[in-house]
């Protein structure tokens, strides 16, 4: 891997930028690997990277049915925060935020992590009580989160409308200053390049169609659209398609897949300094470095794999955005798209061993797993390499839906989050 640096840019500028090597190669699949990761999103590519870097396991392939980063990693609104209620969640999301800080240096790739602050708006008495409870719980876990009055919220984000006349007036906000955004594509590309440099094969346009098991039930490899590939261990990191893949190994998972949409506006000059979220009215907004407003909408009500959602879902979000930020009422929206998110009953992910020997799963991140990419990949690599969970992901088992040890962020947030 040729290192990226200011000197490399200067050298290439003199040569007309003709000397940049490809960022990762596209090898033919080998007959077998020590580990196969299914799904080249950020979590899967990151897992391969940490397997190589931290566990010395480099005979690894990442298999992707489309193009790398083409799933939810490349479709999300990139909000990063760690102010979750329960100790287990604070543990895993904050592990991730700590890794975001320094990830660009670690990967030698600018992932544009920007801790510009995430402000979550409270619109009713219930929100105020829930957020204050979160703030106290977060501080006990060493996670920064602070309460702002409506006036302080407006000072932090000047376009915000704090009029009492609004349909859902702003009654205050919780601010996590270390929260922010990162460049989604760069996260996938950076992990892909760094993993490939350590010997990982990244194989695109290669759909896994079955999971093979030996007479003892243990995993022996996978069937793909590019032939049979052997493996001692298989890690499924397939987001919205996790149910489909786990079914191939006969494992039933407590997931449902829903469309989730996002949209961007025409680009404008910098007007929006932070990230604002409102779970109550379903609006998530920030401004990209290109100048577009990046807006997240809610999920559709029905399960689907179609990667499109209803227009009324977007309109509902824009209603809220226009009322919260009247300055945007005449803004034009450029494009919208959908991803398929895998939702668990308690809205917490599953990163665990499975009843099938050699099969591991990292799924259930639902509407909010981009923020967790580095942390999830890091502890999942540990789980696959050592055949036992890292302390950070130990609570995120598949068995918790049987033994009742739920991590009920769904109830804690009282809405989808």
């Amino acid at each position: 891997m040729r290192k990226y640096s200011v000197f490399a840019i200067a050298r290439e500028a003199m040569r007309g930028h003709k000397g940049w090597p490809e960022q990762w190669s596209s090898p033919e699949p080998k007959k077998s690997y020590d580990v196969i990761i299914v799904g080249a999103g950020g979590h899967g590519l990151g897992t391969a990277y940490y397997l190589a870097k931290e566990h010395g396991i480099t005979n690894v392939a990442v298999l992707e049915k489309g193009w790398l980063g083409g799933g939810n990693t490349g479709r999300n609104t990139t909000i990063i925060r760690s102010n979750y209620l329960y100790d287990e969640s604070a543990g895993i999301y904050d592990h991730s935020v700590k890794l975001w800080d320094g990830l660009s240096q670690d990967l030698n790739y600018n992932v544009m992590y920007s801790p510009r602050g995430v402000m979550m708006l409270a619109h009713n008495v219930h929100d105020v009580q829930v957020f204050k409870r979160h703030i106290h719980a977060n501080r006990l876990n060493g996670v920064d989160n602070e309460w702002l009055t409506p006036e302080e919220a407006k000072a932090y984000c000047p376009p915000l409308n704090i009029s009492r006349e609004a349909r859902y007036p702003v009654m205050g906000a919780a601010l996590q200053r270390r929260g922010g955004t990162a460049r989604h594509d760069a996260v996938a590309w950076g992990y892909a390049r760094a993993a490939a440099a350590r010997g990982v094969d990244i194989i695109q346009n290669c759909e896994v169609t079955d999971i093979n098991r030996g007479p003892d039930g243990a995993v022996t490899g996978v069937e793909t659209t590019r032939g049979t590939i052997g493996a001692k261990k298989v890690g499924v990191v397939a987001a919205g398609h996790s149910s489909v893949l786990m079914q191939m190994a006969g494992v039933q998972v407590p997931l449902e897949s829903y469309p989730l949409q996002a949209l961007v506006s025409e680009p404008v000059k910098p007007v929006f300094p932070c990230v604002v979220m409102s779970n109550t009215v379903h609006a998530y907004i920030s401004q990209s470095d290109k100048g577009e407003l990046v807006i997240g909408a809610g999920t559709d009500q029905y399960t689907s794999y179609s990667q499109t959602g209803g227009l009324h879902i977007i309109q509902h979000t824009l209603d809220a955005i226009c009322e919260m930020f009247p300055i945007f009422t005449r803004m034009k929206m450029l494009r919208s798209w959908g991803g398929i998110v895998d939702v668990t009953p308690d809205r917490s992910p599953i990163l665990a061993k499975t009843p099938v020997s050699g099969l591991y799963v990292n799924c259930g991140w639902g509407t909010g797993g981009f923020k967790a990419t580095p942390g999830s990949a890091h502890v999942f690599a540990h789980t696959v390499a050592r055949d036992e969970p890292h302390p950070v992901n130990a609570p995120f088992t598949l068995e918790r839906f049987r033994n009742g040890r739920l991590i009920d962020e769904a109830a804690a947030a009282a809405v989808a989050h």
């Binding site: 149910s243 407590p254 449902e256 009500q301 794999y305 209803g310 009324h312 009953p345 839906f401």
Partner: protein, 97 residues
Amino acid sequence: MLLIHCPYCEEGRPELEFRHAGEAHIARPENMAELSDEDFERFFFIRSNPKGIVYERWRHIHGCARFFNAARDTVSDRFLTTYKAGEPKPDLDGEGK
């Protein structure tokens, strides 16, 4: 926006009139207290989540307010049929796509 045919009103209406109500044909066990943890998990948490034909419940909240069932292809979002609550699951093998 889906267009949904209510089998009671016998009319197709926009999705906005309806509320999705989860997977269909999941019978609530009558002996809940005796259920093993495994069976309870299967009843309460596990869903088939198919990429293909899903059998699901809808409620016509802004119409007749009744629950009914539908078979829908989750890849195209096309409805294959809707039918009244209590009617057997239609056999649609080989259809859809």
